[in-house]
């Protein structure tokens, strides 16, 4: 199983071999690929064995581990993404890529935990993006390799079969922890908020951020039965008194502003999963890449695309998501 950057001609050869491939790269490169069993998303940032880097001349290729096979590729729009879990194959998993800010991205982010059969089988993936210098100019896209089409309003999901004796499991590595400040609770689910409860008092969040000089590089963190789930700040509009997030906040969940992190890579390395040799796929967040200065730095040998959002059952922020394939315990 290979997880690395390839020249386009080498990716073409891999596709013609007929294996299932998970690809990430610049749109102009992905448009040159032949049809086959692959899905892709646009992004020029990667964690590689050489460290974090920006590369618009190569495609990141994630081959499937031995024994796993692509058994289909589906597309979903906003209107049918709710079926994504019900459609996953028995004894299998799904790898999903959705274009950033598309309707399907926003719908999945808000509603995935309420989908029928939520999390019944593993669903991992990422949100495609663009070079940060092209935000608002270029459009994030995904590709359905069976037709070679580039899509900006649909998600693609590769269905993957897992052989007998093996089991797929998802994990996350989030170095952020809840700080000791007040709890934030939101009146409604959504990607933005105005008035919220902070420490039990109703306050305007934008105003609170200004008054307290809250470090917006650090996410809000919620405790999901022991799993730390982040919501990252996107922008603050003081005129409107509104704060926007990269993932939705959920009503009734208490969030805390994260504790500062001295050095991301040091924390990351000390929290690495035990069996990194069994990681079949992983991705990490563009905000970790930016705020933690990952360019040129290595994260424990873990490689993959740098993304505009991570999926491990539901949408995540500022988190590394990973898939392991292990021997079954049955």
């Amino acid at each position: 199983m290979s997880q690395q950057l390839y020249e386009v001609k080498d990716v073409e050869a891999l596709i013609r071999r007929g294996d299932g491939l998970l690809l990430a790269g610049d749109e102009s490169l992905l448009r040159r690929l032949p049809r086959g069993k692959w899905i892709a998303g646009t992004i020029p940032y990667f964690m590689t064995e050489a460290g974090g880097l920006v590369n618009r001349k190569h495609i990141f290729v994630n081959e499937l581990p031995e024994g796993l096979a692509c058994v289909g590729i589906r597309r979903y729009g906003e209107e049918d993404i709710a079926r994504v879990y019900s459609d996953l194959p028995a004894r299998g998993l799904g790898i999903m890529i959705a274009p950033a800010t598309s309707k399907v991205h926003l719908s999945f982010a808000l509603n995935a935990p309420s989908y029928e059969k939520f999390a019944i089988r593993p669903l991992i993936g990422w949100i495609s993006g663009v070079h940060l210098s092209e935000l608002g100019k270029a459009t994030p896209r995904v590709f359905d390799g069976t037709s070679g089409e580039a899509l900006d309003q649909q998600a693609v999901v590769m269905h993957i079969s897992v052989p007998a004796g093996k089991v797929a499991e998802l994990g996350i590595l989030n170095i952020f922890e809840e700080g000791e400040g007040p709890a934030f609770t939101f009146p409604a689910n959504g990607f933005s908020a105005t008035d919220v409860e902070i420490g039990g008092r109703k306050r305007n969040l934008a105003q609170f951020i200004q008054e307290t000089s809250l470090d917006l590089r650090l996410p809000l963190v919620a405790d999901y039965c022991g799993a730390k789930i982040n919501v990252s700040f996107q922008a603050v509009d003081q005129a409107k008194g509104e704060v926007q997030f990269y993932a939705p906040v959920f009503a009734g969940v208490p969030y805390h502003h994260a504790k500062p992190v001295a050095d991301y890579v040091t924390e990351f390395d000390s929290n690495l999963p035990k069996r990194i040799d069994q990681i079949a796929f992983s991705c990490n967040c563009i905000l970790n890449y930016l705020h933690s200065g990952l360019e040129g730095r290595k994260t424990g040998g873990i490689v993959g695309p740098i993304t505009f959002g991570e999926i491990a059952y539901q949408l995540l922020n500022q988190t590394m998501a990973y898939l392991t394939i292990e021997s079954s315990q049955a």
Binding site: P113, I120, A227, Y313
Partner: protein, 78 residues
């Protein structure tokens, strides 16, 4: 491994939060938090609790080959 039926009262207690438990299995963590929000909002109607208790049991049964699920089941029903 044997997984108790959905009618076992512990499943409902996990859904309502009466039993405090932090699963190792990531999907169970996300599922429990989501259904507790729903159960809380709806005033803990018995049929809703039963539905989510069945859902939680199904989630673990469908993933019973995972080491983390087996650890969780062993701890919940020790």
């Amino acid at each position: 491994m044997q997984i108790p039926p959905a009618a076992h009262p512990t499943w409902a207690d996990l859904v309502t939060g009466k039993v405090k438990f932090e699963p190792s299995f990531l999907a169970a963590r996300m599922f429990i938090v989501r259904v507790r929000m729903e159960v809380g909002k709806a005033g803990a109607k018995p049929e809703l609790i039963r539905k989510h208790a069945t859902g939680l049991r199904d989630l673990l049964a469908q993933n019973a080959d995972c080491a983390s699920v087996q650890q969780d089941i062993a701890k919940i029903f020790k």
